[in-house]
């Protein structure tokens, strides 16, 4: 039976995250970007909303079940506040969620209670590599079995909070198949760049380059491994949901600006050129939002075509986010180009969805 209405529990979460996004993340976004620093308090406040905790079963120290649908609802709200902030708050998920999805019982017992039981702590994931046609299914970082351990070699980029990470989930190519590997802090052969990564947006999120030279690691799921497709799809819907949030932020700023700004004796929103822009932005956002919901729902319900849906949602979301955030700047005109105003950052962040994957998972 079709329904487009979040349940009561989800609505409460949306409201709580929405409030945090509006009152905490949004006002802090500009300064965080410029100073390349997210206030610690801001991140811990987001962590205390308990999203990951509520997605982890009681047996592993949490108090709920994972739902991708609930995830996309919450993440859209959080990313609406600020993308860098949202990714920082959810960084521990980059480690915890794959463990939950593909880890062995032992790995779950070992890591999950530690992560969800305490304060926000830097556990992270490393997927991306520096190549123009980066393909998560064809990684250059390699893994070779050696006894019951695996030896990793390669270089990973854009790894959030790697510097302080307690443990990293590193994805590598094992005989042609992508698998996740758990790398502990301080492992021999693991080196993390001193310099933070510099990218077009997301400057408030500390990301590092990670080198692996004969690093010994354990395989996610143990000897039999895990289904990477499931993890990849969870990353794709997350990326899509975050894109909708970023787009909505730009749309809201642009809409309000257009209703304030006078030109030729009327508000610019009263001009069809601007009004139609806004109508199309709203329409495209809603289209991709629903596509994302459906993909998440398919993941939750183990539908056969769930991974294709997740792929389509991610692809569509990257285009939509670019279109909407570009127009956000355009509606502000010259003022949109000035960093004092919020829409240029949203445009920089909006472009990232076509380039980046694995910075967030649900």
């Amino acid at each position: 039976m079709y329904s487009f209405e979040p349940n009561d529990e989800q609505q409460m979460l949306i409201d709580a995250v929405g409030k945090y996004a509006e009152n905490d993340l949004r006002p802090a976004a500009h300064d965080a970007e410029e100073s390349r620093e997210l206030p610690k308090k801001l991140v811990s406040k987001g962590w205390e909303l308990g999203f990951l905790q509520a997605s982890t079963p009681e047996a592993y120290g949490g108090f709920g079940e994972r739902s991708a649908v609930t995830g996309v609802l919450a993440l859209e709200e959080m990313a609406y506040g600020d993308l860098a902030g949202a990714l920082a708050v959810l960084t521990p998920s980059l480690f915890a969620t794959p463990v939950l999805l593909g880890g062995s019982e032992e790995q779950k017992q070992h890591y999950l209670p530690k992560i969800v039981g305490g304060d926000w702590a830097p556990y992270t994931g490393a997927l991306m590599e520096m190549s123009f046609d980066f393909d998560p299914n064809v990684l250059k970082t390699t893994a070779k079995a050696e006894g019951d351990k695996y030896i990793l070699n390669g270089e990973k980029i854009f790894v959030p909070f790697a510097k302080d990470a307690e443990a990293l989930l590193v994805y590598a190519n094992l005989d042609g198949v992508t698998q996740g590997f758990i790398v502990e802090k301080g492992s021999a052969g693991l080196s993390i760049s001193d310099e933070r990564e510099k990218v077009m947006g997301l400057n408030a999120l500390p990301m590092y380059r990670v080198k692996l030279e004969n690093v010994s690691a354990s395989r996610l799921g143990g000897a039999s491994g895990h289904d990477f497709e499931l993890i990849l799809s969870a990353m794709r819907v997350a990326s899509a949901a975050a894109a909708v949030g970023v787009a909505r932020s730009s749309f809201e700023y642009a809409k309000n600006y257009a209703k304030e700004r006078d030109a030729f004796g009327v508000k610019i929103a009263q001009k069809q050129a601007i009004a139609f822009f806004l109508a199309e932005m709203a329409t495209e956002m809603e289209a991709i939002r629903l596509l994302t919901w459906e993909a998440a729902w398919k993941l939750d319900n183990n539908k056969e075509d769930a991974s294709t849906s997740a792929y389509l949602a991610q692809t569509g979301a990257a285009d939509m986010a670019m279109m909407v955030t570009d127009r956000g700047v355009q509606i502000y005109g010259g003022h949109g180009y000035i960093r004092e105003n919020p829409v240029e950052l949203l445009m920089r962040n909006g472009r990232g969805f076509a380039a980046m994957l694995g910075l967030v998972i649900l």
Partner: protein, 419 residues
């Protein structure tokens, strides 16, 4: 309630059945009725009427109310959802045919939206009788399209006979011929004519009148020759001193300084816009499926899951078409789900039409482009779908008018604030 994308069982079952109809009855003869414009596909009309009656009531554009079985748990209503799915599937078969599926169409929808309970009882019963029966909406005039305030048709009350006397010219009346002309094989239909009872009152003076088939003074003056949807008749109708009974005015006859009458028309469109969107998306799906089938025959596989940088141009196009078509369909579903659950859907309804208008046009255009000669040749239906598709972005409010409606809603502007 919780977010759910599972197709309700009754809709899934209906789709399976309708797909058979679409394949066997519509696709097989679609070309013939495209090339013989104004010929009437009686087989289809009679078959659909019989089938719909046996399924418990000929529908048209009004959703069927589900009658709960004694003691059974009350299920959420899915009337509009069922209708949208039905229309999408019929349009997948052939949208020209779909438009002449017997039933009340927009005419009955207007009665539903603006009529009193007595009027609904009186005018809507006929669609479920023995012969297939049509009704149509007459809104557009040569000088008044989306700007309905420019409507010139006039209705004057003859107090002696208590009849309305209507004068005016109406154009672009879908199924106007089958609704008004008294064919042997059809039941008596009607047209709903929008006319002013007080031109000084502007839109507040606009009213809808039920004009029965065969009413003296009313004439079909022309059947249009069109780019596509040729199986569907599009009539021009003139009314010269046409007399209709007092009670055929839908809703209230008094002119208050409100725009109730106009809002009645708009309410009709809120309900039917996602349905028109659905009809377009059926055509788009037909085109996309045909494209994929031809590509596959020629050894071109779409490699879903690859990064964009590794995709061919054709793959990128097809993947984008998948995104557009599916997301547009979900917007339709949301709009009709809201209608079923009595939630105000003016925004979602118009957004779904904006999106579907774009998607239907672009998907069919792209499919023809990719398939080259196969797309352009009349050997296949794709070129026809390209022509059929274009109307989606035009009727029931052009894409531009619907953008205006969407923009007003999101900005909180009145028509005066955003013209």
């Amino acid at each position: 309630m919780t977010i759910d994308f599972e197709t309700p069982k009754p809709i899934a079952q209906m789709n399976t059945m309708l797909q058979t109809v679409a394949e066997n009855m519509m696709r097989s003869t679609a070309r013939e009725f495209d090339e013989n414009e104004h010929a009437i596909p009686w087989d289809y009309i009679e078959f659909m009427h019989t089938a719909m009656r046996s399924m418990g009531g000929a529908g048209g554009l009004a959703p069927q109310e589900e009658k709960p079985k004694e003691g059974a748990e009350k299920r959420p209503p899915i009337g509009y959802q069922r209708l949208a799915a039905q229309i999408e599937m019929l349009a997948w078969g052939d949208v020209g045919y779909y438009l002449i599926t017997p039933g009340g169409g927009l005419g009955a929808a207007a009665v539903q939206a603006a009529g009193t309970p007595e009027q609904k009882a009186k005018f809507l019963a006929r669609f479920n009788e023995e012969k297939p029966t049509f009704a149509a909406m007459c809104m557009t005039e040569p000088g008044a399209g989306s700007d309905t305030s420019a409507i010139r048709a006039r209705a004057i009350l003859d107090e002696k006979t208590n009849e309305w006397i209507i004068n005016g010219e109406k154009i672009f009346v879908t199924a106007g011929d089958k609704s008004f002309t008294e064919y042997e094989k059809l039941g008596k239909g009607f047209i709903v004519v929008w006319a002013s009872i007080d031109p000084s009152a502007g839109r507040a003076g606009m009213r809808a009148f039920v004009v029965e088939a065969g009413t003296p003074g009313v004439k079909i003056t022309k059947l249009e020759h069109k780019l596509g949807i040729r199986a569907s008749d599009t009539a021009a109708i003139s009314l010269v001193d046409a007399r209709v009974p007092f009670d055929n005015l839908l809703g209230k006859p008094t002119v208050e300084k409100t725009t109730t009458g106009f809002k009645g028309a708009m309410a009709t469109f809120d309900a039917t816009r996602p349905l028109v969107a659905a009809s377009g998306l059926g055509v788009a799906r037909a085109a996309l499926e045909f494209l994929k089938e031809k590509l596959k025959e020629n050894g071109v596989e779409i490699r879903y899951g690859l990064p964009r940088q590794k995709l061919t141009s054709i793959e990128k196009d097809v993947i984008d078409m998948d995104v557009q078509l599916r997301s547009a369909w979900l917007m339709v579903l949301k709009a009709v789900w809201m209608a079923d659950n009595k939630k105000s859907n003016a925004l979602e309804s118009s957004m779904s039409k904006v999106k579907a208008g774009d998607v239907t046009t672009k998907v069919t255009q792209k499919a023809v482009e990719i398939l080259g000669p196969l797309g352009y040749s009349r050997e296949f239906l794709l070129e026809k779908w390209f022509r059929d598709a274009k109307i989606t972005d035009i009727y029931e409010g052009t894409g531009q008018i619907n953008r205006l409606v969407v923009a007003r809603q999101i900005l909180g502007y009145t028509g005066a604030e955003l013209r």
